[in-house]
Symmetry: C2
Subunit: 454 residues, 2 copies
């Protein structure tokens, strides 16, 4: 389909506004899990240094304090709360991932929705539907924009998230068709975020900036501000400028609503607080450690074997801090082989311990395009093999195609309750209140109750 | 020079911070003219509908009111004032242009500087120097990013302006070297703005969004927020992702400070309130009208002849309103040939008058790559020929290579005083106070006096 023959913007706006996802099915259930997971990710990051810095900036601006900032016991304005909630949700890279997105949907979409919900009076059901529609938009944009988008240097979480978040927020706010078309354009023209910022506090900030930009787009649409109604379309539109426009005809709109991407292929909830591209290796190395077939002092080399390009997100080979280590498969594997747990306390801004640091040079990445990916691989085509070679020349290998938490090997409600509990200092009563409210979320009253608990 | 061998980010940060432009020369003089011109552009737009809509959004957020919004008799917060001042300065497309930028420098740089000046206590001289440095950065980025950047669909005013504005603001605020390196990266990762928004209120909004993003970048740097110190560099850095990295080695840093781009080739101050790409045609058609060699009722066809691509910014061929007509050479030429003046009142959101509207189909664009551009052409390689063909078959032509206001044919202080006066309802006393303060701007006291007059 030739782009100039179709207005993707107009059709996307129409499909978004006419959507009515069935909340009794898997999509609705996954949306509830997604809210729990997002709150867990926020609470785990509540004392992050970056949060303090961002509050300093926000508070210098002053302004309204209407919208709860998750886990902070403070409120901020409509736009500023989204900046904070987006950053905090992604600060530890502990939030959900979607393989079609090649990035993090909820930490952009949910902050935008929380501000809209706090400013208005939507029902809990409409909030859930808006979230499902936001993930749908982001996943379809991810497939439509093509894999080169990410490879060229874009950070999909923010570049696509800003549009997805305004689709969700516009649905929640019940924009008109024309307003939604323009809102998509206001968001698209603010799309940004570069992968060169990976491994720094700016990576999670992209999520907050995108959420805030989505809400500015919503406000502009509400004001009937002038803007393009076809900003996705044509050679110089969003799809042409940021991606490969020939893909959109296949992926952006076809079969909309027949199933929901939040459930199929589904959100990936993280069991480890680091980049999902290292989760396969983490599962593999933990299996090796569990089997304890070798002495760690006898390890001569470790090979981490990927399909070509499978480690693109893992930009740190010699991290100086645990924070940088979130993007280092070398660090993750070295931690586990040296007896450290793969938990939050080992991914802070503290320097590496000596034993881990000196172990890093033993870990080498390899690429093998001859290995056949598994049919159930997540993401598609991905696998990671961890191979330990001892000084005696023995080799121990584990291969993971679909790590724990990924769709097909997903976390249960109980797993997520545990993640939430651990992230909020084991405050069991508060955790149960939250989970109960989210699992039964339905009315306007429920929605306000959830906001009050954040 | 291979990009990976050099850190453009680090060197740019160093050169910016070490700059000390001579304010007694042409650069200083042009900076003073640029401030007058920017204020004139803002005042001319003070009742624009978009300004009201944007104030609604800003006021809903609440917050501090420290920074004057030009011509509005109201103040807004550090970040929000920049959003407004950037939008207002560019709302009518009446603000300055720079050919190296292929966009509008002052409407992004000056709003950022005004917020910093209001929040701190810099001298007027440092303010002028910061402005010169901002334009320098933006012009050099424009040459470094390559002409394909614009052709692919980017709006240079915002994509490059956000980085230029943080360079200027960081200089004014006296950031450290490390802070400036990171500030450039915070700005680069927020770079955005698509040409699909041309002809709508979102085009000028890009300037405001970029100015605001530059100030968020400044605040992040002041907070020592974590970010890349080399965000311009490498294949996935800003220069590689948004442009053609091989150009930067030649244009970004070489001979920094030997002359200043604000003076050479210089800012282009607009005598007409529409896109500068139509100014050649405007001068040409006004010459034809002045000579009055033909009767307008006898015009059969009008040809507007450009070098290939010379009309890329002129996206409207059949504008419905005067506002869209800012990007329509057909409209500009039809106005003049029908006896209308090329002044602000003909570029509002009102529909076209019947005589102008029915004349549009007579105007045709042509491209002639065989015509030699003049040595003094501005921008380089550009010309426009307006050719009127009468029903008797007579042809009348005028060719313009360097229109009024462009460098080489620039406006004088007196011209700009006239522009300012016309834009502020002929309040001669206020105009003289402003001009006097700007022409003598030197001390901290002068700077505060200027802010108080805005």
């Amino acid at each position: 389909m030739v782009m100039s023959e179709q207005s993707f913007t107009k059709e996307l706006a129409r499909l978004v506004m006419e959507s009515a996802p069935d909340l009794q099915g898997v999509a609705g259930h996954t949306a509830r899990l997604g809210i729990i997971d997002y709150i867990a990710a926020c609470c785990a990051a509540r004392d992050d240094e970056g949060v303090v810095k961002l509050w300093n900036i926000v508070e210098a601006e002053g302004g309204a304090a209407d919208v709860p900032v998750v886990g902070q016991k403070k409120k901020a304005s409509f736009l500023k709360a989204a900046l904070l909630n987006g950053f905090i949700g992604h600060a530890l890279d502990y939030d959900d991932v979607h393989s079609d997105v090649r990035g993090h949907p909820s930490t952009v979409i949910l902050p935008a929705l929380l501000s809209v919900a706090a400013a208005g009076r939507p029902s809990g059901e409409r909030f859930l539907a808006a979230y499902i529609i936001g993930v749908e938009t982001m996943a379809r944009l991810g497939k439509s924009i093509g894999s080169n988008h990410y490879m060229r240097g874009w950070h999909n979480t923010s570049t696509l998230g800003v549009i997805a978040a305004v689709a969700a927020a516009g649905y929640l706010q019940q924009l008109s068709q024309e307003q939604m078309e323009k809102a998509i354009g206001f968001a698209a023209t603010q799309s940004g975020g570069m992968r060169v910022q990976f491994g720094t506090e700016t990576k999670p900030l992209h999520a907050g900036i995108a959420a805030q930009a989505a809400l500015l787009s919503l406000r502009l649409a509400e004001q009937n501000f002038g803007g393009s109604r076809s900003a996705l379309d044509g050679n110089i539109g969003f799809l042409g400028l940021y991606g490969e426009p020939e893909l959109a005809g296949k992926f952006l709109l076809a079969d909309w609503g027949q199933s929901w991407k939040i459930a199929d292929p589904g959100l990936w909830f993280k069991i480890y607080p680091f980049c999902s591209a290292a989760h396969h290796a983490a599962d593999a190395v933990l299996r090796l450690v569990e089997k304890s077939a070798f002495d760690k002092n006898n390890i001569e080399r470790v090979h981490i074997i990927f399909p070509p390009g499978g480690d693109a997100a893992l930009i740190e080979k010699k991290p100086a801090t645990g924070e940088q280590g979130r993007f280092s498969v070398e660090y993750v594997v070295s931690l586990a082989l040296n007896g450290y747990s793969l938990t939050l306390d080992n991914f802070t801004n503290k320097p590496l311990s000596e034993d881990v640091s000196s172990f890093l040079p033993k870990v080498h990445r390899k690429y093998d395009e001859t290995i056949e990916p598994a049919a159930h691989a997540v993401p598609k085509g991905r696998f990671t093999i961890v191979e330990v070679i001892t000084s005696a020349g023995e080799a121990y290998r584990e291969r993971i195609d679909c790590p724990r938490g990924a769709p097909g090997n997903g976390l249960s409600l109980e797993d997520l309750q545990y993640k939430l509990l651990a992230s909020m200092d084991n405050d069991r009563e508060k955790m149960h209140q939250l989970v109960q409210t989210i699992v039964t979320l339905k009315t306007e009253h429920d929605m306000q109750r959830l906001l009050a608990l954040l």
